[in-house]
Amino acid sequence: MLREIGASSIDDLFAIIPQEYRLTRDLAIPRQMGESEIVDHFKAAAAQNANGYASFLGAGVYRHYRPVLIDAIVQRGEFLTSYTPYQAEITQGTLQAIFEFQTMICELTGMDIANASMYDGSTAAPEAAMMAMRVTGRDGVVVARTVHPEYREVMHTYAQHREVATGHKAREVGYGPEGTNYAGRIDLAALEQAVTEHTACVLVQSPNFFGVIEDIPAIAEIAHRKGALLVVAVAEAVSLGIVRPPVEADIVTMEAQSFGVAPSFGGPFCGVIAAKEKYVRQMPGRLVGQTTDKQGRRGFVLTLSTREQHIRREKATSNICTNQALVALMATVFMTVYGKEGIRELAQQNLAKAAYAAKTIGANGTLLFGQSPRFSEFVLQTEEAPEQLHARLLQEKIIGGVALERWYPELGNATLWCATELTTREQIDQAATVMAQAPAVAAVR
């Protein structure tokens, strides 16, 4: 081939790189490995992670059963190794699957339209807030403190330069204390105060970070009265099987990890933005639409791309270029497998397991926000410090709930627990037993 090109050596092809910047040594990285060595390398890494533990972790990443059909389908090379479907004639498979995904997300959330997916739930929320800014022409964002703390951090990162420019900082609104009507949910009176004629949107999560379901109609009413939009983030997608969809919202963002996607140490996941139809032209990300070919046959294409960066450049709705197509496909297969009845049955099992866990494990401390409706997570306050509690549980191969002090110092020794359909009664009972053995001295911090 070199001869055909007219080059005498491979280095001729790199002659344009100035000599002083050419790398003349080997890169100092591990030597080339055989396939069996690669597998061994990662098996050793896997063995250094948690194996064989019962886990009560949730907090934005949920452990659900993943039907084997999902992997059988996404491992098909035609899905796995295809690019963004710009050439519609030879990517109808991906396009139709995304169209089905968009439809199912609309069905679940009660919105009119949904995009082809975003990076994840934590980035979908700030993208939705920026979308609300474009729709309303306002710059303020009011965020509930019950939104996932890491989502709020991402929100701040996205918004900071706009804040500098406009002077409208994202405002956080706290939650009602124990014993009130709004225990563990956004404080409606404070919200009322926070929303002004500069507010582009109110952002809440439901079920929120504490697992509590927010009063969406009441929040929507407050937001809309001042002309602000309501953005509702859903981090636990399975909840939509049994929890009333946030139909009063203007934009719904989702993390679809619960739909058949492995926890995988935090990613890749699948964010979504769904909205009322009238906001479609301000929507970020890719959209698939139905159309026809020259013979009148139905087909699907990427559409409304004039919103996007490759056309609009600096005037685009977002710089987002990829979506999470393969992960969206996993979610699509998951939703198809469970279907209309299954998604409800699954959600109901999660509800039952969490109710049992809250009762059983909750007996070893104070269950916070217990009067508010919740889905699959609950907050437990213990006398024992979370580090000690965790250490004792780990000895029995149990990973307890996430300690909340880092984000909510006012809650003291609080932990956030999650049970799903995969959590067994035996695991719940055993965790409760270990917790009941708390040494009295451990109670003193």
């Binding site: 092809l13 992670n49 330069h161 379901i213 969809p245 639409g289 139905q290």
Partner: protein, 501 residues
């Protein structure tokens, strides 16, 4: 023979075959069909309407109801309508559609890796943290940079992070500065990113060779320039050989050199951005490091930088403690904050690291050499039939234009569609914008000479068709399930979801 070549379906690479028809899953749905069975509930039943009160969902979402075999047929049929790297050459310029090794998929699914929860205790996450640590070390060595974050979820997200770092750096010196300079050959994500970070975009015209006009740049850079976003090799596949002068011009005014690493597949093991003056850059693990594109994601866009930008990296960062254990450090007061929850697209890190281990130093170098060799081979074999707008040496991709074909009314988009009939995915159409009628071809190292020859054959046959029978090209593709789709109506009257008739 010459007669047959003009006709669709007689190429050496493909033969037409049947594909199954398949409606939407919703259209196939029938009440009561099921493909799931839950384990029996081992805790007391609950009454959801009592527990949830007014938050109870009374109406089911109208998801489809299908049996298991219907579902697997549904998606398998859809899959057969796709083109993929696993089927053949996918020469999309700038997208680096290389082979996605299956061992990467296998190791990413190992239980201890796939089931790892991001909040499980650090002592039970040493395997995951070790993967992050080793990948970081390898990427730093490959790029010649000094610090890195793996948190960004994709290339554009990496750009966003990189420009935030630049902004924080300038801010720490008292002035975030006002503008970001972007060549007109850049990806659209570059200007969109700069705008998202609060910068005014200064569009910079390429010189007649498609590169940076160094003298004009010296005029354009000022104390208000935060950074230049440069793709190197450029989007026309040319290495910017005055790169160090460019860096010097920027640095003299305190501005930074941002490198869009989309084309890193041309550099790995041969030269390092950190050595030629780059201050901050992103990588695309889904391009250079073989993680699958999956029909448009997930990607992963690590950002590497020089030491002076390290304090501003997103939180958390992985650090090795005195105890030899790896830890997540959140205590970074100068950090730009988080750009994403958790630690990034970890599953992609696993795959990228597997790729690096499979290659080693010699393999990565050879990969780059083969990618460049393949692009130059295609260039040589096609330069007599397609116009080469820039005569500068090509690296890993070659950009032709449709100038010779437009006199017969055929444009780059038509030739691309005709390539489909010959069994290839089209090249990148109409990009970069500085080349009218661009045809951007990136074969990658994955293709054998046999596959390249088939591609060359197809491109040459199409060039002949343009001369002899342009209509066959204008009407292409002829062999697909659907012909060209009406995009205008799709955008004018958007139908973005199925509705029950």
């Amino acid at each position: 023979m010459a007669e047959a070549e003009k006709f669709a379906g007689t190429t050496r690479k493909v033969t037409a075959h049947l594909t199954q028809n398949e409606g939407l899953s919703f259209e196939k749905s029938a009440p009561g069909k099921k493909a799931y069975r839950l384990a029996p509930l081992d805790v007391p039943e609950v009454d959801p309407s009592t527990l949830l009160g007014s938050s109870f969902r009374s109406l089911n979402a109208q998801l489809p109801e299908l049996s298991e075999i219907e579902i697997i047929r549904h998606f398998t049929r859809l899959s057969t309508w796709n083109y993929a790297i696993d089927l053949g050459m996918y020469p999309l310029g700038s997208c680096t559609m290389k082979y996605n090794p299956r061992v990467n998929e296998f190791v990413s699914r190992l239980e201890g890796i796939a089931e790892a929860h991001p909040y499980q205790p650090e002592e039970l996450s040493q395997g995951s943290l070790g993967i992050i640590r080793l990948l970081q070390k390898c990427l730093l060595e490959i790029t010649g940079m000094e610090a890195i974050t793996l948190q960004p979820a994709a290339g554009a997200h990496g750009e966003f992070t990189g420009i935030l770092l630049a902004r924080a750096y300038h801010q720490a010196k008292g002035n975030p500065r006002r503008t970001v300079i972007i060549p007109d050959s850049a990806h659209g994500t570059n200007p969109a990113t700069a705008a998202m970070c609060g910068y005014e975009v200064v569009n910079f015209r390429s010189n007649p060779k498609g590169g940076i006009d160094v003298e004009a740049l010296a005029q354009a850079v000022s104390e208000e320039t935060a950074a230049l976003m440069l793709t190197n090799p450029s989007t026309i596949g040319v290495f910017e050989n005055e790169i160090h002068r460019i860096a010097d011009i920027l640095h003299a005014k305190g501005a930074l050199l941002y490198m869009d690493g989309a084309n890193m597949n041309a550099l790995c093991g041969k030269t390092r951005p950190g050595d030629f003056g780059v201050d901050v850059m992103h990588l695309n693990l889904h391009k250079t490091f073989s993680t699958p594109h999956g029909g448009g994601g997930p990607g992963s866009g690590p950002v590497a930088c020089k030491k002076m930008l390290e304090p501003f990296l997103p939180v958390p960062v992985v650090e090795e403690g005195a105890d030899g254990q790896l830890h997540l450090n959140y205590d970074r007061p100068q950090s730009v904050g988080r750009v994403r929850a958790f630690y990034g697209n970890f599953g992609m890190f696993v795959r990228a690291l597997a790729y690096i281990l499979a290659n080693g130093p010699d393999g990565l170098r050879q990969t780059t050499e083969d990618a460049v060799l393949n692009a130059n081979y295609i260039r040589k074999k096609l330069e007599d039939v397609y116009e080469l707008p820039y005569n500068t040496p090509s690296m890993h991709e070659v950009v032709f234009s449709d100038r010779k074909q437009t006199k017969n009314g055929v444009k780059t988009g038509d030739i691309a569609k005709r390539l489909i009939d010959y069994g290839f995915h089209p090249y990148t159409v109409s990009f970069p914008l500085i080349v009218p009628g661009a045809m951007m071809i990136e074969p990658t190292e994955s293709e054998s000479r046999e596959e390249l020859d088939l591609f060359v054959d197809a491109m040459r046959q199409i060039a002949r068709e343009v001369e002899e029978n342009p209509q066959v090209v204008l009407d292409a593709p002829h062999s697909t399930r659907v012909s060209r789709l009406d995009e205008t109506t799709a955008a004018r009257k958007p139908v973005l979801r199925w509705r029950r008739p």
